[in-house]
């Protein structure tokens, strides 16, 4: 038979909602829908009768147990927060600083290694003007005695040599 009632129709019927004329006519004539409806009604009343058996607890003790549990959890949470923001902040700071230092050192090392190496250039020797002539000189007294010991001809030769070479350097 066509036009069987849908699940929602049975539920509405159970709640006392009026069915349409077509649906009423159908349920009266359809044994399948009629049987379903009969069972729904009896199961509904059976279910309703189950509720009387629920034992009631002591509500004031129930309430105080919930309150106590909430309070103890709140205290636990507060002490946890204090632990994290109180004494424990010092090791935490130390950890953070060491980490920062390690990161810094690593970064500097990496950067240092990544710059291209500059080729080694040997330092140039200082430029020294070559002396025109180097005369080994002994102590002043010895030089004087040597000059005194020269003959006239030799003295004249020395005088000429000195006059002609003004850039003579004496090395002691």
């Amino acid at each position: 038979m066509f036009g069987h009632l849908k699940a929602e129709d049975f539920v509405n019927l159970m709640d006392g909602t009026e069915l349409s004329a077509t649906q009423r006519k159908h349920i009266a004539g359809c044994s399948q829908c009629h049987a379903t409806w009969e069972y729904m009604r009896s199961a509904h009343s059976e279910m309703s009768s189950m509720e009387t058996d629920i034992p009631e607890p002591d509500w004031s003790s129930f309430r105080s147990s919930v309150r106590d549990e909430l309070l103890s959890r709140s205290i636990q949470r507060q002490s946890t927060v204090r632990r994290w923001t109180g004494w424990a902040i010092r090791p935490a700071t130390a950890w953070a600083l060491s980490l920062l230092l390690a990161v810094g050192v690593t970064t500097v090392t990496v950067l240092w290694k990544s710059t291209p190496p500059v080729p080694y250039a040997a330092p140039k020797p200082p430029v020294v003007e070559p002396a025109a002539e180097v005369i080994e000189a002994g102590p002043e007294k010895a030089l004087f005695e040597d000059v005194m010991a020269l003959g006239e001809e030799q003295q004249e030769q020395l005088r000429r040599m000195l006059e002609s070479s003004p850039s003579v350097t004496y090395k002691r």
């Binding site: 929602e8 729904m40 509904h44 309703s48 629920i54 607890p57 129930f62 909430l70 959890r73």
Partner: protein, 186 residues
């Protein structure tokens, strides 16, 4: 749930969050019985139901600041209770033990009462066979007399789905009555 009740709930929630412990008592008095009954229907013993209800309230009060008032407080509490109980039943399902009553010798005068009781026990066992969500929806509708709209809001489904769920739960019970071999060992 009337808008007056909703406003009163909102006021109580705000007072509780501001540290007023009398608001705690008022909220508990309003909903403790309803939540306990929902829990009882899942575990069917007083101690476990009290433990479950206590956990539901603790969870609710701890998250009360996050209650966004999109639904009523009642719906919100029922949702927490239903989810908590379904999870509990799923965890405990392997530990369920069938309880059989030893009636013994009975006098004829109480025979009919016992038969009625037995029949009720049998029906209770059948209801236990339903999947937890389906069972919860059926109980909330028939025993707690919540509206379909409230149950839809609690379970996050449409009203049509809830109505269909009630129908199919009763249909399943009918099949179990007809053919008891379909019953699982509980």
């Amino acid at each position: 749930m009337t808008s007056g009740n909703t406003n009163a709930d909102t006021d109580l929630v705000e007072r509780y969050l501001a540290g007023d412990m009398t608001a705690f008592d008022e909220l508990m008095i309003r909903y403790e019985r309803q939540i306990y009954r929902v829990c009882y229907r899942f575990v069917e013993n007083r101690e476990d139901a009290m433990d479950l209800a206590q956990e539901v309230f603790i969870k609710a009060f701890e998250h009360l600041a996050g209650f966004r008032k999109e639904s009523s407080l009642k719906t919100w509490l029922y949702r927490i209770a239903m989810n908590h109980c379904i999870n509990h039943v799923k965890k405990q399902s392997h530990e369920f033990v069938e309880v059989t009553e030893n009636i013994g010798s009975v006098r004829a005068s109480v025979q009919s009462h016992l038969e009625e009781r037995e029949q009720r026990e049998h029906f209770r066992r059948l209801v236990k066979q339903l999947p937890p969500k389906q069972k919860a929806i059926l109980e909330l509708r028939i025993n707690e007399q919540l509206s379909y709209e409230e149950i839809a809001s609690i379970s996050g489904r449409s009203v049509s789905t809830i109505k269909a769920s009630v129908f199919f739960a009763l249909e399943k019970l009918r099949k179990l009555v007809k053919d008891p071999t379909l019953m699982k060992k509980v």
